[in-house]
């Protein structure tokens, strides 16, 4: 992988920092009128999500990180790993628990997800913005309460639990925004 000099630093550039892949968020040129020039850089560690601040002497460089974003189709989970397939090459990759923790409850299979790969391995998985899932368990809403705009919990076929309006019933199919985890609408089959 190529290395990048401070004058090539810009937001979005992926570099290696202490062996971890990071994405540059901000890069500021800092130079006293008389004295050494520096680049003050804010980076996100793509493995941990933590934001780090580092300063380098201008002219120094960091090794690039082979990080790419690519769309994959979700296939199945064997309980430990979640398997995805590149729809163009049919190549398969597997993501572990850390990458899937917040994502798995929205996936039942076939969904197109955006994978962030580092050296070919998934670092992060972004589910589709909207998913459509069937409610497997929810208590009947109490009629008359609807005017109050109340909500009740509903368990979905994937195990995820979301708040739904009182009029939504067991067995219905609903649309959910995965970015907020909120109910959007009922879906007529």
């Amino acid at each position: 992988m190529a290395s990048y000099s401070t004058n090539q630093f810009k937001a979005g550039l992926k570099v290696l920092l202490d062996g971890d892949p990071c994405s540059i968020l901000e890069n500021e040129f800092v130079k006293p009128g008389k004295g050494q020039a520096f680049n003050r850089v804010k980076l996100r560690n793509l493995k941990t999500g933590r934001v780090i601040e580092r300063t380098y002497k201008s002219g120094e460089s960091l090794e690039g990180a082979d990080v790419v974003d690519k769309e994959f189709q979700y296939l199945y989970s064997d309980g430990e790993l979640w398997h995805f397939m590149d729809p163009e090459t049919y190549e398969q990759v597997a993501a572990g628990k850390t990458a899937m923790e917040d994502v798995a409850p929205w996936l039942k299979g076939q969904e197109t997800c955006l994978l962030t790969l580092w050296n070919g391995q998934p670092l992060a998985v972004a589910p589709p913005n909207f998913v459509i899932l069937t409610i497997t368990r929810t208590d009947p809403g109490v009629r008359g309460d609807t005017a109050a705009g109340g909500a009740k919990p509903a368990t979905l076929e994937t195990g995820a639990v979301v708040k739904v309006p009182l009029f939504v019933e067991n067995g219905e199919v609903i649309k959910i925004d995965t970015r907020t985890g909120e109910y959007v609408s009922r879906v007529k089959e």
Binding site: V30, G35, F38, R40, Y56
Partner: protein
Amino acid sequence: MIKPPASVVDWRPCWTPRILRLRADLLARVRCFFSQRGVLEVDTPLLTATPSADPNLMPMRLRSVSADPNPEYYLHTSPEFPMKRLLAAGSGPIYQIAHSFRDDERGRLHQPEFSLLEWYRPGFDHHALMDEVADLLEVTLGADRHERLSVAQAFARFLDLDPHQASLSELQTVARKNGLRLAQSADEAVYLDFLMSHCVAPDLGTPHPTLLYDYPISQCAYAQIREGDPPVAERFEVFVAGIELGNGYHELIDPVEQRMRFVAENAKRRHVGLPEMPLDERLLAALACGMPECAGIALGFDRLVMVAAGAKRLEEVMAFPF
């Protein structure tokens, strides 16, 4: 050649009419300020054969298209050397608003071409010049008060560190704790520059301008050194709202010492793989002939406009930033 349609070419200046007027108004105030004080406006060449040898400055070298080009020319990084020759020739107090050029400088507070307001006051030391800088900030920014801090006081306040006495390893430890990562070892000056620009300067100049003075001798640049315990460089900087506006000296006038500093700068350039610069022998000859005791300062005029305008970036106050 096919020309793109005129609507696609971005020809408009960046600044707004408000900034245009503010800049003109500040220029007028500056000229009036110096005229009232009997400081003469001068105009020295931008072209030079002997640019600054400061290893932290990158002068721009010109390449002529002529078949028979002149010897090496550079654009100056500041008008310091010719202005000092004027002083040595008996000009008396002088000022200049000069476009200056520094390669590899680009950022929120940097443009490769910018304007310096540089002035020299025979008979002044750095404290007397600091008084005058404070007066100028009152006239231009309406700052009726200022804070004066020694570098030692500032480092004690923000880092609990003595910048004059701290060992290299102490400086390294504090710098590392504050996020500095270096591929190669560095000298005290680099660590002090880092701590100053990242941990001290951002808090200076609020709510009133700060005049920071008496620097560690490793950062003496072209300032006189005052013997003592510890010895200090009689240098100062001006900060407003965390932004360094200018850098001044009780000027070095000893030609032997000046030559040694030039040689040291070139040694540093060699060490980091930069080409050495020819020494400005005419400046050295002028000093040998006798430059009056004086204090001088270079102040970033665009930054002054930026602060007056409440702008966040230098481009906002330049008509055609690079």
